[in-house]
């Protein structure tokens, strides 16, 4: 498949401090003992999308990520690592690596997506409609519903949040409207022109833009070049393409077509007519084609491009790790209901419970837990719904509930850890009590301290 994949892996995210640091950039943040980026790359490999560009913010982070990828995905993936400056936005990052893009279509995936939706299906949808952009949409995660069957412990009766307002055509194939960010809180303004062309539009607030897009390369580059104020794919580029889908001559002023139909001159309007015909060569006439026709039904004068939607089935798992809460949820889900995300064969060296567990006597490890390789747990400990990384040393009488403990963590006797994240190389001395805390890498919590709802991190040197 002539598809290039751009994985926007990011690097530093303020929302995830203190979980990530210089040594652990966001793509390498362990989620159920695997770097976050693993989940995306794994899905891409499964879909046979192997021509990858991984975009990382910051040179150092890029080095870290690069070395990890070359270790893990030795075979099968053709990965290029590109470092871009921080804070230039997703569109900015693509602009920076635009010269690397050569394939006909580009799949852009956010590196923090943990999902079992096959990217190949999105790509295929894109190809089938010859769309300018195809966005993957998934159901809005209802907090509490995923684990309700199994644990039921943390069942908050939360109203499902609204992340996007999405307009779809009656066949749910085309994306007619998309609102993100602050627009959601305002009254929706829907373009009449699109509505006229389609007849009816379904407006959904229970779908979420999962930040996996397939773009036609020519269109993407054109937009990036001409709209240099666009910073974000999600907030600028995709809404712009959706908005302008029925009047794309302003956008695709001949350049993209010239590349595709190289031998044609674009001096006369007749050629443009031809172009739009070529552009819209899908098998069945869509409303785009109908719209672009003259009243007498012959020539096509208006240019359109298609914006498609791939709607993931409601049973599929699809969450972006963009907050601490999401981090906790994903850890819980991946070890629990969505454990099929882990069930692969190749680079798998982790079981739910590591190969050489050293559990003390009368220690219980509940379901939906994960215990990394080489970790040791002392006597009379309780581990429930938690993830424990590799090579951790956990003393006796320790209780770990609903928490994530990363690698090389030392936990003294009698500690109680609830709803917390303990990063790598942390040392918890005896009888420490943590409740809903975040402990940054390398932090030392001294004996007997109790913290509640705090974020503890070492001062950056």
């Amino acid at each position: 498949m002539d598809f290039q994949v751009v994985v926007l892996a990011g690097g530093n995210s303020k929302k995830l401090t203190p979980l990530i640091s210089k040594d652990v950039p966001k793509p390498l943040l362990p989620v159920a003992n695997r770097p976050l980026l693993y989940y995306v790359l794994h899905q891409l490999r499964e879909s046979n999308l192997k021509d990858l560009i991984v975009v990382v913010e910051g040179e150092d982070a890029a080095l870290h990520v690069g070395s990890w990828i070359s270790k893990t995905f030795v075979d099968g993936l053709h990965v290029k690592i590109a470092a871009v400056p921080e804070d230039i936005g997703t569109a900015g990052a693509l602009r920076a690596i635009s010269h690397h893009l050569t394939a006909k279509d580009i799949l852009v995936v956010s590196g923090d997506l943990v999902s079992d939706v096959p990217p190949g299906a999105v790509a295929a949808t894109h190809r089938r409609h010859d769309a300018a952009v195809t966005a993957m949409l998934c159901s809005v995660p209802v907090s509490g519903s995923l684990e309700s069957g199994s644990s039921g412990g943390k069942d908050k009766t939360k109203k499902p949040g609204r992340y996007n307002i999405i307009g779809l055509d009656p066949c749910k194939q085309f994306l007619l409207h998309i609102a993100t960010g602050s627009e959601i809180e305002k009254d929706s303004r829907l373009q009449k022109r699109i509505l006229h062309a389609v007849g009816q539009m379904e407006i959904r607030s229970d779908l979420m833009d999962a930040h996996m897009y397939a773009f036609k390369r020519s269109v993407l580059q054109e937009v990036l070049d001409h709209k240099d104020t666009f910073q974000s794919l999600k907030q600028d580029v995709v809404p712009y393409l959706v908005r302008s889908q029925l009047k794309s001559e302003a956008l695709l002023n001949g350049i993209s077509q010239a590349e595709e139909n190289g031998n044609e001159k674009l001096s006369s309007p007749n050629n443009q007519v031809l172009d739009s015909k070529i552009l819209a060569n899908a098998s069945t006439p869509s409303f785009h084609e109908l719209y672009s026709m003259e009243p007498d039904g012959s020539a096509q004068t208006r240019k359109t491009h298609k914006c498609c939607a791939y709607i993931a089935s409601s049973s599929s798992y699809c969450v972006r790790l963009n907050s601490i809460q999401a981090f906790m949820d994903i850890n819980r889900d991946v070890t629990g209901d969505a454990d099929h995300l882990l069930s692969d064969t190749s680079s798998d060296r982790d079981n739910i419970i590591g190969p050489s567990p050293k559990l003390g006597s009368k220690t219980t490890v509940g379901p939906h837990c994960m215990l990394g390789e080489g970790s040791e747990i002392g006597d009379k400990c309780q581990v429930k719904r938690s993830v424990i990384g590799r090579h951790c040393r956990i003393g006796s009488h320790v209780k770990i509930v609903n928490s994530v403990v990363m690698n090389h963590v030392t936990i003294g006797d009698g500690c109680i850890i609830q709803g917390s994240v303990v990063c790598s190389n942390v040392q918890l001395q005896e009888r420490v009590v943590l409740k809903d805390c975040l402990v940054g890498a390398g932090f030392v919590v001294t004996m007997g301290n109790e913290y509640k709802g705090e974020s503890l991190a070492r001062k950056e040197k």
Partner: protein
């Protein structure tokens, strides 16, 4: 007419008990409270106009009967006597199990008034069908009624079910095939609840906006542009009392439906019922008259087609959809084409060609006449060599030989078209003179003089015809009788939209081009909107939004004040009243009197700029007049110095933005305001002081008025000296 035979077989079988308790009732509005069928409706009520040779109301009544309605209340207002007389003489007065009662009113000007009157009569005892007398349908009510009843049982607030039908408007004209304007409806796909109804959606051109609360409450909404409102409503009794409670509800859709949708306190709900295979349409304008006539001839409305309604002995259907009464006299060489109706006793001469048309009873059509797509009512005389295309010709019209009707012509009753006269396209010709008052569209809709007073008017005018004959002769050629109505300014361009004639292709092409042009201009908007989008910085986002909101509020407030002010100017409202109105606005928008002062001053100056002037001095004169005349209004909001400063700031802003013409006159106007004691010198001086520290660019006007301020300062010092 024999509809009752059909009706008996198609009768809805319903629970007999329930039927016994509550016979299904219907309210039929025999007045459209609109003027779309003028000039014809000046002389005859719309519901009695023939539709393929049968009065419209017969179609509606026949359908109601077949759908199981047992009691119909016909509400008549305009030409009520004609309607009552017709019903009394017709078969409807003597039907078993189907009673037709009339309710007469002379002063109702809207559907709202009609329903309020019916409520007072206390004749409706349960669910009822609300329909107007110009509706043609063959749908079965059973399912819709049942759905309505079930919903009502579960939720007492579900008081109305609207019947809708698939009909995609033309992408170019944005009109349905019935000639009605496009309609946007938001419907919940699961419950079928109607969430939004927008039939006049031009105000936010290019966009339609959906309230955020709707989206919050419904995870999925389908916004339809492809549905047609059939104007068949199944209502619960509460609907009538709602009209009484809300005495300002006039229009069924614009006020009642929208009112209910917006009102979230009472929580009344409206649902929709979509019909797929059956027919339902309302004759709203001449275009829908044309479309529905064709549908009837093509038998989409079966069993409500002429041969069934009139009894199959009188009218025979021939090949290619030709309907011919038994006693038509047709010349051998005459050619009657497809989809044409020829009524009883009509004579057609040699070599005459008729196609896609309806010719009524007792017409005399000469030789070599061409009739295409036209509707000729009863007893019309068309002499040799006439040509008619897409016209409506009412009873008793005489077209002298060689006369030509161009597409879209309406000839009202008894008009005479002179020899070889060509009636221009889209003309409306009547024996009656055009009513002189040129109301805006909106007002016409409600305060329609046809309702109630129409009859009187027509009688009076009839008397006037004789002396005017000599005058009018010129208007319709030699021997012609009638007035060609002039088209209101502005409506002229739109005449083709609702005409019987098909839309000419050049119009379509023009529309296409216009739209493309509009696209180009809108592109700018799209880009600016995207510019707005990128303001995604987290820290000040919410603040921006708040500011924006309050600014929006202010903009609306300012507009309202301006409108109030303009009304005050045009209608010579007393200053005290204007003050009262502005104060009311201030309270409702929660504004300070500072804002009022600013807004009033803004409106004054805007009007001054907009009134005609050729030079700066004239503009100054305009402004001076304006200020002199309305100073009292302005002063009522200038309680202290801050408000006066606001006026200066506002003026400065205007000079920079909306009314640059004033820029040069800034000091003069300032002086004027000082002279009229609107601004005290303290205010001006403080403004000057404040501006002293501002940016260079901000001080443009300060510099311009330096002299004046200097003078003020000196005056002050002198005073101090005294």
């Amino acid at each position: 007419m024999g509809a009752q035979k059909k009706g008996a077989t198609a009768r809805v079988s319903e629970d007999p008990e329930e039927l016994a308790r509550n016979p299904l009732q219907a309210i039929l509005l025999a007045d459209s409270f609109a003027t779309t069928f003028r000039p014809i409706t000046l002389e005859r009520p719309k519901v009695l106009l023939p539709l393929v040779n049968i009065p419209m109301i017969d179609y509606t009544l026949a359908w109601l009967e077949s759908a199981g309605v047992e009691e119909v209340f016909v509400f008549c207002c305009a030409h009520s006597k004609q309607v009552i007389d017709y019903l009394e003489s017709s078969q409807w007065s003597s039907q078993p199990n189907f009673s037709v009662a009339t309710i007469e009113s002379h002063n109702s000007i809207s559907a709202g008034d009609a329903l309020r009157l019916i409520y007072e009569r206390n004749v409706i005892h349960g669910d009822f069908v609300l329909i107007s007398g110009d509706t043609v349908s063959n749908m079965l009510l059973t399912q819709a009624l049942q759905e309505h009843k079930e919903r009502k049982k579960k939720d007492a607030n579900a008081i109305m079910t609207m019947v809708v039908k698939q009909s995609k408007p033309s992408p170019i004209t944005q009109q349905s095939r019935l000639g009605t304007d496009e309609l946007f409806m938001a419907i919940n796909p699961v419950t079928k609840q109607l969430l939004c109804y927008e039939d006049k959606a031009e105000y936010s051109k290019g966009f339609i906006s959906l309230d955020k609360t709707l989206i919050a409450d419904n995870p999925s909404i389908i916004l339809h542009n492809d549905k047609q409102d059939c104007y068949i409503d199944i209502c619960s009794q509460e609907v009538l009392s709602l009209f009484t409670d809300n005495f300002d509800y006039q229009h069924l859709r614009r006020h009642f439906v929208k009112g209910l949708l917006v009102d979230d306190i009472m929580g009344y709900k409206i649902f929709t019922h979509e019909i797929h295979s059956s027919y339902a349409a309302r004759i709203d304008n001449f275009r829908s008259y044309d479309t529905i006539s064709k549908d009837i001839i093509q038998r989409w409305t079966y069993p409500f087609v002429p041969d069934v309604l009139c009894g199959s002995t009188a009218i025979k259907v021939e090949r290619q959809g030709t309907y011919r009464a038994s006693d038509v006299t047709l010349s051998r060489s005459a050619h009657v084409g497809s989809f044409t109706f020829i009524g009883q006793g009509t004579k057609i001469g040699n070599d005459t060609k008729i196609s896609h048309s309806v010719v009524g009873k007792g017409c005399t059509i000469g030789s070599n006449v061409t009739i295409e797509g036209s509707y000729i009512w009863n007893n019309v005389t068309i002499e040799d060599g006439c040509q008619l295309r897409n016209a409506i010709v009412c009873d008793g019209v005489i077209m002298k030989s060689g006369a030509v009707l161009q597409p879209g012509v309406i000839l009202s009753f008894k008009v005479v078209v002179g020899h070889q006269f060509v009636v221009p396209a889209y003309s409306k010709v009547s024996l009656l003179q055009q009513p002189t008052q040129q109301d805006s569209d909106e007002e016409l809709e409600y305060a329609d003089s046809t309702s109630g007073t129409g009859e009187l008017q027509s009688e009076k005018l009839n008397g006037d015809i004789a002396p005017d004959l000599s005058e009018t002769a010129s208007e319709l050629g030699t021997g012609g009788v009638g007035y060609i109505w002039s088209v209101f300014e502005g409506v002229q361009d739109e005449e083709w939209r609702h005409s019987v004639a098909p839309i000419p292709t050049d119009k379509l092409v023009k529309l296409m081009l216009d739209e493309d042009e509009e696209q180009l201009t809108q592109d700018g908007n799209v880009l600016s909107a995207s510019g707005e989008l990128k303001a995604d910085s987290d820290d000040n986002g919410s603040e921006d939004e708040n500011n924006e909101d309050s600014r929006d509020d202010y903009v609306f407030f300012e507009k309202e004040v301006e409108a109030t002010f303009l009304r005050a100017v045009h209608e010579n409202v007393k200053v005290d009243h204007a003050v009262l109105e502005v104060n009311a606005l201030r309270l409702s928008y929660n504004m300070a009197s500072v804002d009022c002062a600013g807004a009033i001053f803004y409106s004054m100056m805007k009007l001054a700029v907009e009134s005609p002037h050729s030079s700066a001095s004239e503009l100054l004169k305009n402004a001076a007049e304006m200020i002199t005349k309305w100073q009292k209004l302005l002063k009522s909001f200038l309680h202290d110095i801050d408000e006066e400063i606001e006026v200066i700031l506002k003026f400065e802003e205007m000079c920079l933005e909306s009314a640059k013409e004033f820029a040069a006159l800034f000091p003069q106007v300032l002086h004027l305001l000082y002279d009229k004691e609107i601004l005290q010198e303290d205010a001006i001086l403080r403004w000057a002081d404040e501006k002293e520290g501002a940016d260079e660019s901000d001080k443009v006007f300060l510099k311009r008025s330096e002299k004046f301020i200097q003078w003020l300062k000196e005056a002050e010092e002198e005073e101090d000296d005294d």
